[in-house]
C-alpha cells in the first residue's frame, strides 16, 4: 500500500465547505412558502394553568395558526422513554415524560405551552407576546433534598412524592470492609448544573410533499434514524415516507439526542397540517431553558482504606436532579455509579441513588454524561485520604491501580448499556508516569514551584486519573460502494456534529481500498442514504460506526481482489489495492482500475452467476458485546491571583489512551475541546436558579463560556492500549477531555493554598466562590 491512511494526521475532508460558508446547517434551509414558529413558554417553574387565551395572538398580522395542547387532539402524547430502566434488582423507576405542549400544569420555566405559526419569525414572536396565560403559581421544587422531604410540593401530583428513581448496586460487603478499615474518609460533595451550549442552537424544518406523500425533516439531531422511525409512527406514516436529514450540526455534546423534544414532533405535524414548509430555530435564551441540562448531584460518600493506602471499599449515596421529567431514563446516574470506580481496585462498593424530580429543565446526558460526577467523588476522596494518611496522592493512586494482567476486568455492577461494567483492556501506570513526567511533578515542586511560593505566589499542582466507558451498543451499520467513476461512497446512520467523521471514516475505508482520501465521500445523518442505526452518543462513533465501516470496506476489498484476480488471471491473494487500482503484487504494471471493476460488477447484458451481487458494494453491521474503556490522566499547574481570585493556568497536560488512533489531529482537537468544556465546568459555568425556580443567568453575558483567554495550551501525550473488542483496536475519545477537570482544579487549588486547611468539595467554582472557601477555611 502506497501510504497508510489509518493513523495519519490528515486534514479534514469536510473543512472546505465549512470554511467558505457553503455548509448547510438547519437554519440555512430556505423553502418557498415557508412558515415560521415561535413558542410561548412558561414563565413559572411550577404553576397550574388556569387558562390560556390565544384569541388576540391569532388575530395578529401574518399569523397562520396558534396551537395549544387542546388543539393537538390525539397527537398530544407524552414523549416515549428513550432508555428503559436497567435490570438492577429492586430498581425503582417512575416514568414521567412530557407531552408536546403543557396542559393543566407547567413544571419548569421554558416548558412550551403554545405554538404560533406565522409568515415570519418576527411576526410569530409578536403574536407570542399576545398570548395571555393565567397561572396559579405553586411552590417550586428547586433543592434536591427539600424535594424528597414529605412536605415538598409535588412536581407530578399523581406520584405522591418526587422520587423519579431509586437504584442500589452492591459489590462485595462494604460494611464489613469498613469495619476492618484503618481510615474512613466521609464527606458530602456537590456538583451543580451546567449547559452544553453548542454554538448552534436546536432547529427543525419540515416539508410535506402532498403529491409524493412524503415528509422531509431537517433536524439538528444526533440521532436521525430513531427520529425518522418515531416520527413515522407518531404521524401514521410508513418509514419510507419520512426522510430525516441531520445536516451540518453546530455542536451537539449530548443534548441534541433527547428524543423527542416537543419541537421535533410539532414542526412536522404542523407542516403536514398546514401544507406548507415550517421552520423553527431555537434562540439562545430558549436554548438555556428548553434544551436539556446536566450535572446536578449531591453525594454523601466515604472511602475505607488500610493504613498503607489500600482501598477496602467505597460507599456513595447520592441524589440526582433529573429535572421536571425523566425521558432519558437513568443513563446519567448509572454512568456516575460506574465511572466512580475509575482505574482502581475497589473490592467492596455500595452505590445508591435517588433521582429527584425538580421544577427545572430536564436533565439528559451532556459530554461525560454523569461520568465526571463519579470521577469527582473518587478523585476527591483519594486526595483527602492521601492527606489523612500522609501519602503522596499519586502514590496512593498507583497502589490501587487494577494490574495490567487483570483485564478484562469485571466491576460487577451494571453499566448504562445494561451489561456488567467490564473494562476490555487497560494499563494505567504508564499513563500516570507519562503525565507525571510531562507536568514535571517532582522537578516543579522542588524547583519552580518552590521558587514561586517563596516569592509569595499562590501556585499549585495537581494530577488526576479517570476511565471512560465508550463505544457501547446496540449497533451501527454502513454501506461502502465504489462507483464506476472510481469515487467511493460511504454511508452510515449516525449523525455528525463536528467530530470529523467525514474524514476519519474515509481514512478507515481508504486504508482498505487503497483509494485517496479526496475520492471518498462520507454521508452521515441522512436516512435516505442509510436506514439503520442508533446515533452519535457515548463516544461511540469511531468505535461502533467505524468498525461497521471497516467491515463493509473489507468486504468490498475482498470482492475487488476476487474480481481483479479473475480479470488478471492471478490468485486473489496476489492482488493488492493501491491508488485506485487493483494490481498484481510485485508486478504493479499488471493492474485494473477499481472504477473498471465497478463497471464490470454491474453488467447490462449477458449472464452472471446466480448468486452474484451486482456492484462493488457491501453493507456491514457491528454491535459490540460491551463498551471499550478508554482512560487517562490530566495534570495541571495553576496560579491564583491574590486579589481577584482568578486563575492562570501555567501548564496543562493530558495523557490519553483510547486504543489505536485513527487521526491524531482530530483526536487532539477532541481532547482540547473537551478540556475547554471541563474548564468551564470547573471554574466558569454554573446555571444559577433562585428559590422560585427561575434561571438567573440565561444569556452568554451571564453564563460564562471559557474564551481563548481562559483555556490554556494543552500538551497531549498518547498511549495505545488496544481494545480487543474490534479489529482496529479503537476506543472512543469524545468525552474524555471533559471528564476529570473538576477534581483536578480542586486538587491543584488545595495545593496552592496548602497549609490553609482548604477542602473543596464542590464544582463548579468561580473566583467569588473560591474566595469564600479560602476565607472560611
Amino acid at each position: 500500500m502506497a501510504t497508510r491512511l489509518f493513523g495519519a494526521r490528515v486534514k479534514r475532508n469536510e473543512d472546505p465547505v465549512l470554511l467558505t460558508g457553503r455548509a448547510q446547517f438547519v437554519d440555512d434551509v430556505h423553502l418557498a412558502g415557508m412558515l415560521h414558529v415561535a413558542f410561548k413558554r412558561s414563565d413559572y417553574a411550577h404553576a397550574r394553568l388556569v387558562s390560556i387565551d390565544i384569541s388576540e395572538a391569532r388575530a395578529m398580522p401574518g399569523v397562520v395558526a396558534v396551537y395549544t395542547a387542546a388543539d393537538l387532539g390525539d397527537y398530544w402524547q407524552p414523549s416515549p422513554l428513550l432508555v428503559p430502566p436497567p435490570p438492577v434488582e429492586g430498581a425503582v423507576f417512575n416514568q414521567r415524560t412530557a407531552g408536546q405542549l403543557a396542559r393543566d400544569k407547567v413544571r419548569y420555566v421554558g416548558e412550551p405551552m403554545v405554538m404560533v405559526v406565522a409568515e415570519s419569525r418576527y411576526l410569530a414572536e409578536d403574536a407570542v407576546e399576545k398570548v395571555m396565560v393565567d397561572y396559579d403559581p405553586l411552590p417550586a421544587v428547586v433543592d434536591l433534598e427539600a424535594g424528597v422531604a414529605d412536605t415538598s410540593s409535588l412536581v407530578h401530583d399523581d406520584l405522591g412524592h418526587n422520587i423519579a428513581a431509586h437504584v442500589v448496586q452492591r459489590k462485595g460487603d462494604y460494611e464489613a470492609a469498613r469495619a476492618r478499615a484503618d481510615v474512613v474518609i466521609s464527606r458530602r460533595m456537590h456538583y451543580d448544573r451546567g449547559t452544553a451550549a453548542p454554538m448552534e442552537t436546536r432547529g427543525v424544518v419540515a416539508q410535506w410533499d402532498a403529491l409524493a406523500r412524503s415528509l422531509t425533516v431537517w433536524d439538528s439531531t444526533q440521532a436521525p434514524i430513531p427520529i425518522r422511525n418515531g416520527l413515522a409512527a407518531m404521524l401514521g406514516l410508513a418509514e419510507r415516507q419520512v426522510r430525516v436529514i441531520a445536516p451540518f450540526i453546530g455542536g451537539g455534546f449530548g443534548p441534541k439526542i433527547m428524543m423527542f423534544y416537543p419541537e421535533e414532533t410539532l414542526i412536522p405535524w404542523a407542516a403536514m397540517r398546514l401544507g406548507r414548509p415550517v421552520k423553527w430555530i431555537e434562540d439562545r435564551q430558549e436554548n438555556f431553558v428548553a434544551m436539556t441540562h446536566e450535572r446536578g448531584q449531591v453525594h454523601d460518600c466515604e472511602m475505607a482504606l488500610t493504613r498503607d493506602g489500600q482501598i477496602l471499599g467505597v460507599r456513595d449515596i447520592f441524589f440526582h436532579d433529573t429535572g421536571a421529567y425523566d425521558p432519558y431514563g437513568l443513563t446519567v446516574p448509572l454512568n456516575t455509579q460506574c465511572t466512580l470506580l475509575g482505574p482502581y481496585v475497589v473490592p467492596h462498593y455500595t452505590t445508591e441513588f435517588k433521582a429527584v424530580f425538580t421544577n427545572k429543565t430536564v436533565v439528559t446526558p451532556y459530554r461525560g454524561a454523569g461520568r465526571q460526577h463519579g470521577v469527582f467523588v473518587m478523585e476527591r476522596l483519594l486526595d483527602l485520604a492521601a492527606r489523612e494518611l500522609g501519602l503522596d496522592p499519586l502514590e496512593l493512586r498507583r497502589r490501587n491501580f487494577i494490574p495490567p494482567d487483570q483485564f478484562p476486568y469485571n466491576n460487577k455492577i451494571i453499566f448504562q448499556d445494561f451489561t456488567e461494567l467490564t473494562y476490555d483492556s487497560g494499563d494505567y501506570e504508564p499513563v500516570l508516569d507519562k503525565a507525571r513526567a510531562m507536568i514535571g511533578w517532582e522537578a516543579w515542586q522542588a524547583g519552580e514551584g518552590a521558587r514561586l511560593r517563596a516569592e509569595g505566589k499562590t501556585v499549585g499542582i495537581g494530577l488526576v486519573m479517570y476511565v471512560e466507558g465508550t463505544g457501547i451498543g446496540p449497533y451501527e451499520g454502513a454501506r461502502v460502494q465504489v462507483e464506476p467513476t472510481g469515487k467511493v461512497n460511504v454511508a452510515t446512520g449516525i449523525g455528525t456534529q463536528g467530530q470529523g467523521h467525514f474524514t476519519s471514516f474515509a481514512q478507515i475505508v481508504g486504508e482498505q481500498l487503497g483509494v485517496p482520501m479526496t475520492n471518498i465521500y462520507v454521508s452521515t445523518g441522512d436516512t435516505a442514504q442509510f436506514s439503520w442505526g442508533a446515533g452519535t452518543f457515548a463516544s461511540r462513533g469511531a468505535v461502533v460506526a467505524g468498525t461497521a465501516i471497516h467491515h463493509a470496506a473489507v468486504k468490498v476489498r475482498d470482492k475487488a481482489r476476487r474480481l481483479a484476480g479473475e480479470a488478471l488471471e492471478v490468485a486473489e491473494e496476489d492482488v493488492e489495492l493501491v491508488d485506485g487500482f487493483a494490481q498484481v503484487r510485485g508486478a504493479p504494471t499488471r493492474r485494473v482500475a477499481l472504477a473498471e471493476l465497478a463497471r464490470q460488477a454491474n453488467p447490462l447484458r449477458g449472464a452472471v452467476r446466480a448468486d452474484a451481487e451486482p456492484g462493488l458494494e457491501a453493507t456491514a453491521y457491528y454491535g459490540p458485546e460491551m463498551g471499550a474503556t478508554a482512560f487517562g490522566a490530566h495534570a495541571l499547574i495553576l496560579e491564583v491571583d491574590p486579589e481577584t481570585f482568578n486563575l492562570r493556568v501555567h501548564k496543562y497536560v493530558v495523557v490519553h489512551d483510547c486504543g489505536r488512533v485513527i487521526n491524531p489531529l482530530i483526536l487532539d482537537g477532541q481532547v482540547q475541546g473537551g478540556v475547554a468544556q471541563g474548564i468551564g465546568n470547573a471554574f466558569y459555568e454554573q446555571l444559577v436558579y433562585d428559590e422560585t425556580g427561575q434561571l438567573q443567568n440565561a444569556s452568554f453575558m451571564d453564563y460564562l463560556l471559557p474564551t481563548a483567554l481562559d483555556v490554556p495550551r494543552i500538551d497531549i501525550g498518547h498511549e495505545e492500549t488496544l481494545s480487543p473488542l474490534n479489529p482496529n483496536g479503537v476506543k472512543g475519545a469524545g468525552e474524555a477531555g471533559a471528564i476529570p477537570v473538576g477534581p483536578l482544579f480542586c486538587q491543584a487549588l488545595e495545593d496552592a493554598f496548602q497549609g490553609g486547611g482548604l477542602e473543596i468539595l464542590e464544582i463548579p467554582l468561580s473566583p467569588y466562590r473560591l474566595w469564600e472557601l479560602v476565607t472560611s477555611a
Binding site: 486534514k11 470554511l19 467558505t20 460558508g21 446547517f25 442552537t201 453546530g250 455534546f253 474564551t707
Partner: protein, 158 residues
C-alpha cells in the same frame, strides 16, 4: 414601515425593501441567502455573526439592516468561495484543524482578517486577545491560535 435600502455585499449591490426592525444578520442570511454568516446568540456575545462593515468587524446581530444602507459588507463568502483557492487564513484553519463543527468559524475568520491586516506579526497573546470576543465550543481555541500564527507566517512570506 418599510425602507428601501441598498447595501453592497461582497462587491455586489443589493436593493431591498425591509422592515426597520430587520436585523442585519437576518437580512444577510434570509434576504440575500448568504448563509455562511451564522447566528449563535443574537445578543452580541458569541461573535459567530461577525461580518466586515466598511472593512471593520461588527456583529451583524446587533445592527439593523437599515443601518447598513449605503455601506459595504463583506461576509465569509467574500473571502473565497472557491475551495481550490482558499484565503490564506482559511487554508491555515484547514491545515491546523482550526474548526470542528464549523459553526463559529465564519465569525472567527471575519474577526481575524482585519486583525492580521493591522497586525501582520502577532504574538500568541495578541491572537488570543483578538479572538477573546468569539466563542468556540468545540476546539478549546488552541488549533485556532495555531492557524492564525500559521497564516501570519505565510502572509509575511516566510
Amino acid at each position: 414601515m418599510t425602507h428601501s435600502i441598498t447595501i453592497t455585499v461582497n462587491g455586489q449591490a443589493y436593493t431591498r425593501q425591509v422592515d426597520a426592525r430587520l436585523l442585519l444578520s437576518d437580512f444577510i442570511r434570509h434576504e440575500l441567502l448568504l448563509t455562511g454568516t451564522h447566528v449563535g446568540c443574537e445578543h452580541g456575545v458569541c461573535g459567530a455573526c461577525t461580518v466586515l462593515f466598511d472593512g471593520e468587524p461588527v456583529r451583524s446581530c446587533l445592527m439593523f439592516a437599515v443601518q447598513a444602507d449605503g455601506h459595504a459588507i463583506t461576509t465569509v463568502e467574500g473571502l473565497s468561495s472557491d475551495p481550490e483557492r482558499l484565503h490564506p487564513l482559511q487554508q491555515a484553519f484547514w491545515e491546523a484543524h482550526g474548526l470542528q463543527c464549523g459553526f463559529c468559524t465564519p465569525g472567527f475568520l471575519m474577526t481575524l482578517v482585519p486583525f492580521l491586516e493591522a497586525n501582520p506579526t502577532p504574538s500568541e497573546a495578541e491572537v488570543r486577545e483578538a479572538i477573546s470576543g468569539n466563542l468556540c465550543r468545540c476546539t478549546g481555541y488552541q488549533h485556532i491560535v495555531d492557524a492564525v500564527l500559521l497564516a501570519a507566517t505565510r502572509l509575511n512570506g516566510d
